[in-house]
Amino acid sequence: MAKPKLKQHHINRDWCKGCGICVELCPKNVLELDDQDKVVVVRPQDCICCRLCELRCPDFAIEVETQE
């Protein structure tokens, strides 16, 4: 199976509460919180599409879209 390739991260800023779970538990350190405590993607090129951020986000605020 080919490695999934990132298309984009979908972030719902209205739903994100800035708990930092995705930032802290991302194995590749792709995400950060901005000055408003909302998650932002700072290193998309490092994303391996493991979806751990999506699976662990308690607020359904981040989604990883991969290329078909």
Binding site: D14, K17, G18, C19, G20, E24, P58, D59
Partner: protein, 268 residues
């Protein structure tokens, strides 16, 4: 369908605190239902009172938000009336085993076909951080400023002893395993219990100085181990996770139908 198709999006963002594990359990539950390909119309979700019980408001199934500790009693009624539906009962630790302790053991004993999900954050969050029967000893809570004395229940051992035919434990760190276990619990014919260890950063984490939500999630990684692992032999204090019991037994609704037929003596 996508995860969001199962949500009542008009109620989002949800009311749970930042980093609360209940949102993760909701995600795991919905992914399990999505993987099983169940339709929204064949699921009934029944909950009681507490932070965790607010979960029924956010899902687009048939839902009932009932009284404290009595969700399993309402769910038993729904199942007996409409045995073709899948019943899921999400509960908090206090709702399931303190206020609803009696309902819990008797639902397990009867082996009614439904899935109880005990979201165990070891504290009463909604009412301000009082200790629960799952807090355990030496825990700081708003009602235990000098720490608790009580030992906690072991949900797995209690469910086994009460007669549940499917018993499992998962954590909010192990999100994929949580989804797999919930899938199996929903498919199981009989009373299934899934204990999910979740974090309450607002009360349990803060009062016991475990740290913020990410720190609490990592605690589950460091303090749990798969059933029967070598690590458990070396470190007996680790909490085991996985499926502890999966067995067949006479299911209550089916047995009840037999009684109906016997009483009617074929006249119906």
């Amino acid at each position: 369908m996508a995860v969001k198709d199962y949500l009542r999006e008009r109620f989002f963002p949800h009311l749970w605190c930042p980093g609360c594990g209940h949102g993760e359990v909701l995600g795991g539950l919905i992914r399990a239902i999505e993987n099983l390909g169940l339709s929204k119309n064949e699921i009934v979700m029944v909950s009681g009172i507490g932070c965790s019980s607010r979960i029924t408001g956010y899902v687009d199934f048939h839902t009932m938000h009932t009284i404290h500790g009595r969700a399993l009693a309402f769910a038993t009624g729904v199942k007996l009336a409409r045995p073709e539906l899948k019943i899921i009962v999400p509960m908090g630790d206090g709702d399931a085993l303190a206020i609803g302790g009696n309902h819990f053991i008797h639902a397990a004993r009867r082996n009614v076909d439904m899935t109880a999900i005990v979201m165990n954050n070891r504290i009463y969050g909604m009412t301000g951080g009082q200790f629960s029967p799952l807090s355990g000893s030496n825990i700081s809570a708003s009602t235990a400023p000098y720490r608790t004395i009580d030992k906690s229940f072991d949900v797995v051992e209690l469910s086994k002893a009460a007669g549940a035919t499917f018993v499992a434990r998962a954590t909010s760190y192990h999100a994929q395993q949580m989804t797999e276990v919930i899938e199996k619990a929903i498919l199981h014919k009989g009373f299934s219990v899934v204990e999910v260890l979740t974090q309450c950063p607002t009360y349990f984490g803060r009062k016991n100085k475990i740290g913020d939500a990410p720190e609490m999630i990592k605690w589950f990684k460091d303090h749990t181990t798969p059933i029967g692992s070598k690590a458990k032999q070396e470190h007996p204090e680790l909490i085991e996770r996985g499926i502890f019991v999966q067995q067949e037994g006479p299911e209550y609704c089916e047995e009840y139908q037999k009684i109906v037929e016997r009483a009617m003596k074929g006249r119906s």
